[in-house]
Symmetry: C2
Subunit: 435 residues, 2 copies
């Protein structure tokens, strides 16, 4: 088998066999196939795509390039949720304890902030003591104690993806449905979950800008995941404005805690409940999503969701008193208010712009080696559709210095749009695919 022939076959629109894909992926991981051949192949895949069978083989081969966790000793259905990345998206922090309270076991392998999107690991690490680097045995202990665990991807999990993603990033071959599918699914399958829920974000703040793109990715994730014997549901959810009221690291953990104690923003709770309900359905805990949504909500009013949140915090090393004593008050030193310049209704808070604005405040990273600020960010007092009077505070900024604050205030002028007419309320859940 010659690497150039495999590239040519894909370039010409051919279907690669499992054997050819194995030769390619194993050669790529071992370094026998050089990056310059791999990148030509990636570009050929970008143009010619892959059918579901090829995507399934690629996913499995990438998963098998590293460790695959065995969590079968844990009781209860193993369910996880994965989002394609948004702005203000702290649903994981809320739905994991709710799903745990409903009887699910949630092994959650999360990511870090990059570009305009936030990262669950960075958010949790803003809490003193919280540790996301745990061994497989510790992971099982944490899930047994708290119903869920949040950890980072280790070096041993899907090394093929780490190598391939780094190459795709610099060769403009990121935006390919089969490559995205294999990248996401291989990691989720390696972490040992039986059932998976995907939140495919759609809109300005999302990787997928149009509903058609989001549908294509959602369908590919469901089809490929099911072909590998998992129960998979995908929701396409809108990401035009930031989700909830907070964009930041500690700010978002604080907001998550508020949601679990009953004071969540409606948009955030709609998406969180919808996703958590699909986890319960995919995991076989509930028969349909209406029943599951009601069960989720009951775990907020009963306080059980909040209990699991605290259990996880403690199990992963967080200083609970430190956390509680800072909720509502721990903010970066420079505060600035962004105010309405006219009467009207908020028509848009552009999610991508907000993410980039938060990045400027130190919430996120330009590149993977940057560090983040724990206590900077944006707190929206008004969101899309809200009536405002000229001079009303729309959001508060928390920055480490005046320069950052000024830049953010200027940026917000083109991020927030105020119109004359009220908006019609609409659901953020655009579509459900699978199961």
């Amino acid at each position: 088998m010659r690497t150039a022939d495999i590239i040519m076959k894909k370039r010409n629109g051919g279907k690669l066999s499992e054997e050819e894909l194995r030769f390619f992926i194993q050669g790529f991981v071992s370094g026998e196939i050089p990056d310059y051949q791999a990148s030509a192949w990636l570009m050929a895949v970008y143009f010619q795509g892959m059918d579901p069978e090829e995507t399934g083989h690629l996913t499995r081969l990438m998963m098998e390039s590293g460790d695959v966790m065995d969590l079968s000793s844990l009781k209860g259905p193993l369910v996880d949720k994965h989002s394609t990345g948004g702005v203000g998206d702290k649903t994981s922090l809320i739905l994991a304890p709710l799903a745990a309270a409903c009887g699910a076991q949630v092994p959650m392998m999360s990511g870090r902030a990059l570009g305009h999107t936030g990262g669950t690991l960075d958010k949790l690490e803003s809490v003193k003591g919280y540790n996301v680097s745990v061994s497989q045995d510790e992971l099982k202990d944490i899930i047994a104690a708290a119903g869920y665990a949040v950890i980072g991807q280790t070096e041993e999990i899907v090394p093929a993806d780490r190598r391939m993603y780094a190459l795709r990033d610099v060769t403009s071959t990121v935006e390919s449905i089969p490559l995205i599918t294999a990248s996401i699914l291989s990691k989720k399958l390696a972490e040992g979950a039986d059932s998976l829920v995907f939140d495919v974000k759609c809109g300005s703040g999302a990787f997928m800008k149009t509903l058609a793109q989001a549908e294509e990715l959602a369908a590919s994730l469901v089809k490929t995941g099911e072909s590998m014997g998992r129960r998979v549901i995908a929701l396409i959810t809108e990401m035009e404005e930031p989700l909830g009221r907070m964009v930041g690291n500690f700010l978002e953990v604080e907001e998550s805690w508020n949601c679990l104690t009953g004071v969540g923003a409606p948009d955030l709770m709609e998406v969180t409940t919808a996703l958590c309900a699909r986890m319960l359905v995919a995991g076989g805990i509930c028969g349909d999503s209406e029943e599951a949504s009601a069960l989720c909500r009951s775990k907020i009013s009963s306080g059980e969701g909040a209990d699991y949140f605290k259990k996880n915090m403690m199990a992963q090393g967080a200083d609970w008193d430190w956390f509680l004593s800072r909720c509502g008050s721990w903010r970066a030193p420079v505060k600035a208010d962004f105010r309405a310049d006219r009467d009207g209704y908020i028509r848009d808070i552009d999610a991508f712009g907000t993410g980039m604005c938060a990045l400027g405040l130190g919430v996120g990273r330009n590149k993977a080696t940057d560090s983040v600020q724990p206590h900077t960010g944006i707190h929206f007092l008004k969101k899309r559709g809200a009536p405002v009077k000229k001079g009303d505070v729309i959001c508060e900024l928390f920055a480490v210095n005046e320069g950052d604050a000024d830049k953010a205030l200027t940026a917000l002028e083109s991020i927030v749009t105020i119109g004359s007419a009220p908006l019609e309320a609409k659901s953020l859940i655009l579509k459900e695919i699978g199961a």
Copy 2:
């Protein structure tokens, strides 16, 4: 400017500016842009193509990556011919002295055998003493003395193409019209010719298998060359059976000499005369190709073409007596005859198969570092359309050992096809493009 953005622009079908192409080519040649980004870009170009302006910029930038010869001190029009590569194609060896005899100056930078195609340099080097490695000053002296010179590509000429071709070869990005155009033209322009004639071969033994592909390449070569201020004519010629009677190294030099002394095979003379005539038209020596063809033929009957052949041989160091004394007799030691297995008419002598068969005899190279045999090859006594009786010798093989000869005899069984009906004679000149 970011390399990944340039890749993405081309991937998305955008048109690259001269500045973007300069950034890319200079970065690639200097090594600042790594091969893995260059190969992704090459694959994007394969899929999205380039318009004539982009192809022109790419060609010039590649040419400017190395030395550009200045032959302006030579008197008379500087004209060259380039073939896309065929089997038994020794037209260069015949038309260069003919064009020189007609007053053209021909700086001919030629290639070596690779795969099924032969190489002009290998053929000439089969003659004792012939030297193709000469300095620019020596080149001018040779052209001044003999009207033409045949040299190899130096390290200093278009280094971008050498690097890029090596990468295209292993990443399955060879078959791209703009990349082929830039590769061919950048070298031809760097050698200093004012006018160019291209022989775009079409058929089994050619790189372009269909007339549509050949037309696309021919049009691109003409359009791009003209946009750079050169007079360019392309002929598309058929390459379904080997050209002429000989396939080998010394064998083909011998056949070329025979042609110049008046005993050339009709197919070979048709293509050679047609190409030489276009050189005279492109160089402004003749007003049209009929007049030019007649002038070419007159240079054979007058013996002037043969004189220039001898002048070049001497000027490039060949032992003329050694050459003449071996014509008609110098053959590899093992001779084998391939005979007709039935009565009929030769329907086909597959050019690609013949090239591979000759490669097996040592005429060519599997890879660039292989060496070649000077005196092996195939001599066709009958060609397409010829009537044969069972037992007639169709061709003679000359091999260095019995094993090679046996393999070649077996291969010829599927290369030569004999039919029952006579064939209609047809021209090998399929189309003319340009000027």
